[in-house]
């Protein structure tokens, strides 16, 4: 029997597991959570100058294989991410693992017919109709998770009882993973919306607001950015983040056209991955009265390196502070903390005047 696993990113393992377990007659292996061991494994077997998400996902793949998986899911995107699946498949083969890699995005496009063929190889009774129905629920689940996450990010810095948001989110994800129909999911979503609104917070009107932009994986996977959002929340800062799975899957195609139009003085063409999006967001954050911008990326992320000078220029024109962080397996946590601390000291000083 096929044992299938998937790479981890943020909390999206819940919808991923939900979808796979409902549409495929295969055993689902939940990969172990990302730890130092994951990144060590990934770094050991990756080319040195590949971007860090490659190392994280490769590490997770090896850990899942050790847990018994023999089929892995990978996707691709508009930068080096587009070659992840092929390169990782080769690395895993060289390591002597006998696994099939199912690439959901090839040549920058999602070819559904090819994916159906791939799934039929795993499960002869694969039903497209069932897949469409559960696919729809999964998409909604992602949307609901992202909506609630946005609310959490705005308010978690001001919770009266430390950890109450996190505990509730943990419960929510557990419940979301158990639903069976769209109706049930919707009911749960409404219930948790109310529950989150009930969490007691003390939020001053003039709290510091920071926007986080940057490379998608580093932004979305807290382990890879050394729990930056948590760190900010502990200093009572409201966080705005744009990139989430729903944005990448459904909104980006339309949004990018609008962004390119808005950003005409700065960019003419799309710069790959999320670089042009981040440039547009910089302008939005500057105009919307945010106190500062944090730009994070994994080391060697080429599109974001291209975007950085432009972001710097825009921030300079609006006189907004922006700070850049690069993360990889060897980043010093203390260094990040010192710079972050100085960053919000600076924001507070600016507010004070």
């Amino acid at each position: 029997m096929t044992k299938i696993a998937y790479p981890l990113m943020g909390d999206y393992h819940v919808p991923a597991k939900f979808l796979l377990s409902h549409i495929l007659n295969a055993e689902i292996i939940s990969p172990p959570p990302i730890t130092n061991k994951t990144i060590e494994l990934g770094t050991k077997y990756s080319p040195e100058f590949v971007c860090t998400p490659f190392k994280y996902t490769l590490g997770t793949m090896i850990e899942s294989i050790e847990k018994g998986a023999n089929a892995l899911i990978q996707m691709g995107g508009g930068c080096r991410y587009g070659y992840y699946a092929e390169v990782q498949e080769q690395i895993l083969k060289d390591l002597g693992y006998d696994v099939t890699l199912i690439n959901l995005v090839t040549k920058g496009k999602t070819d559904f017919r090819r994916i159906v063929r791939e799934f039929k190889k795993i499960d002869k009774h694969f039903s497209l109709l069932k897949a469409l129905y559960y696919g729809f629920i999964t998409v909604k689940m992602v949307k609901y998770m992202d909506t609630i996450d946005d609310y959490i990010r705005e308010n978690i810095g001001f919770e009266l009882e430390a950890g109450s948001f996190e505990a509730l989110k943990f419960k929510m994800l557990r419940d979301f993973g158990k639903v069976d129909s769209y109706h049930e999911l919707y009911k749960k979503y409404k219930y948790y919306l109310k529950e989150f609104a009930k969490v007691k917070i003390h939020k001053p009107d003039n709290c510091l607001k920071i926007g986080i932009i940057g490379e998608l994986y580093t932004v979305m996977e807290p382990f890879s950015n050394y729990f930056l959002e948590k760190e900010l929340a502990q200093n009572h800062i409201e966080i705005k983040r744009f990139t989430n799975a729903h944005y990448l899957l459904f909104e980006k195609t339309w949004a990018i056209k609008r962004y390119l139009k808005d950003m005409k003085p700065y960019i003419k063409y799309q710069m790959g991955a999320d670089a042009s999006d981040n440039i547009a967001r910089t302008k939005y954050l500057c105009e919307a009265g945010y106190d500062g911008i944090i730009h994070i990326k994994s080391s060697f992320c080429t599109p974001e390196i291209g975007a950085m000078p432009i972001i710097n220029k825009i921030a300079g024109q609006y006189e907004k502070p922006v700070i850049f962080f690069s993360f990889d397996a060897n980043t010093s946590e203390t260094g990040i903390k010192t710079r972050l601390e100085a960053f919000y000291d600076m924001l507070e000083m600016r507010r004070g005047k």
């Binding site: 172990p32 730890t35 130092n36 061991k37 994951t38 000078p309 710097n312 006189e319 502070p321 690069s326 203390t334 260094g335 010192t338 710079r339 601390e341 100085a342 000291d345 600076m346 000083m349 600016r350 004070g352 005047k353």
Partner: protein, 311 residues
């Protein structure tokens, strides 16, 4: 009784302490080497400061900054613990309210702070490279058989500094050896090194930053006359080096300790305090966090390094 405030700046190479009163006068100050043991260095520092401090003063606040700020903050029960970037900016603003640029080169790190109307507008700190820092200078001084203190004046003798490939400490060192072996005079090599520090700093930390006068240069390396000279030459602006430039971080944190004073009275006496740290590796999950437990008088005051928050 007059009130005074202590600021301690524990850097990688040196430990600085300054005691100021309400009018920003420096009542006592000390500058000693950390020698890899911040706890011991601070004990020494306290002893020296205690000898200097007149009896008519009463200590009303303690602040710590620098890379060992958290540890020493716990040890001294400081009322404020802040990063060195803020401390340096506050310290400099106390004496030079209209400063626009602060260049700071310390032992392990170098930073640039841009200010406008008395507030920080931007800053940068070196990330990976040690080629523009004091430890590089001191290791090269040792190689050339010179004392770090006379390094700067030695550089001033040179009329024709050699070019040294200073992109990276390792390459700089091999280039330096090469230049010495082909017979360049020592003062030219020393001057070349000082110039390479300046260029490296401006290319690395100062990249993309608009450096405007008045410019203040501080940190341990600011005591090096050669580096100051080349900063002037390259930037084409007057560089201000305060006589207390090496203490600026300590003064800054002392000023902040005064702003955040709690009303408690503190003591410089350290002899009766037992301070221990214990390191261990947690094996509960594959994160293998390195934990550090801190004991003050045999009582656990804090533990660091845990990712999950169990400790």
């Amino acid at each position: 009784m007059k009130e005074c405030y202590l600021g301690v700046d524990i850097g990688s190479i040196s430990t600085k302490g300054a005691i100021i009163d309400d009018d920003n006068n420096i009542v006592a100050s000390a500058y000693i080497w950390t020698e890899g043991n911040p706890v011991k260095a601070v004990r020494n520092l306290m002893r020296i400061l205690k000898e200097q401090l007149p009896d008519s003063y009463i200590l009303k606040g303690i602040g710590t900054t620098g890379s060992a700020r958290k540890l020493i903050g716990l040890m001294l029960k400081a009322n404020i613990v802040k990063n060195e970037i803020t401390a340096h900016a506050v310290g400099t603003l106390t004496f030079y309210p209209d400063v626009r640029t602060i260049l700071e080169i310390g032992g392990q790190d170098s930073k640039i702070i841009l200010l406008k109307n008395g507030i920080i507008t931007n800053y940068a700190m070196n990330t990976l490279c040690a080629a523009g820092t004091g430890s590089f200078l001191s290791s090269q001084a040792k190689r050339l058989g010179l004392d770090v203190n006379e390094f700067g004046t030695y550089a001033l003798k040179s009329k024709n500094p050699v070019k040294i490939a200073a992109r990276c400490t390792v390459f700089a060192e091999s280039d330096l050896v090469h230049k010495a072996q082909v017979g360049y005079p020592k003062e030219d090599i020393v001057a070349g090194l000082c110039k390479s520090i300046v260029l490296n700093y401006l290319n690395n930390v100062g990249k993309g930053k608009k450096i405007e006068a008045p410019i203040i240069f501080q940190g341990g390396v600011s005591k090096n006359a050669g580096v100051v000279k080349y900063f002037k030459e390259v930037l084409g602006e007057e560089i201000i080096v305060d006589e207390n430039s090496h203490l600026m971080g300590a003064i800054g944190i002392a000023v902040m300790a005064r702003r955040h004073k709690t009303g408690h009275t503190y003591s410089l006496e350290m002899n009766n305090i037992k301070f221990d740290t214990k390191a261990m590796e947690c094996t509960r999950c594959s994160n293998n966090c390195e934990l550090l437990k801190i004991y003050r008088n045999n009582e656990l005051v804090d533990s660091w390094g845990s990712k999950c928050g169990k400790y």
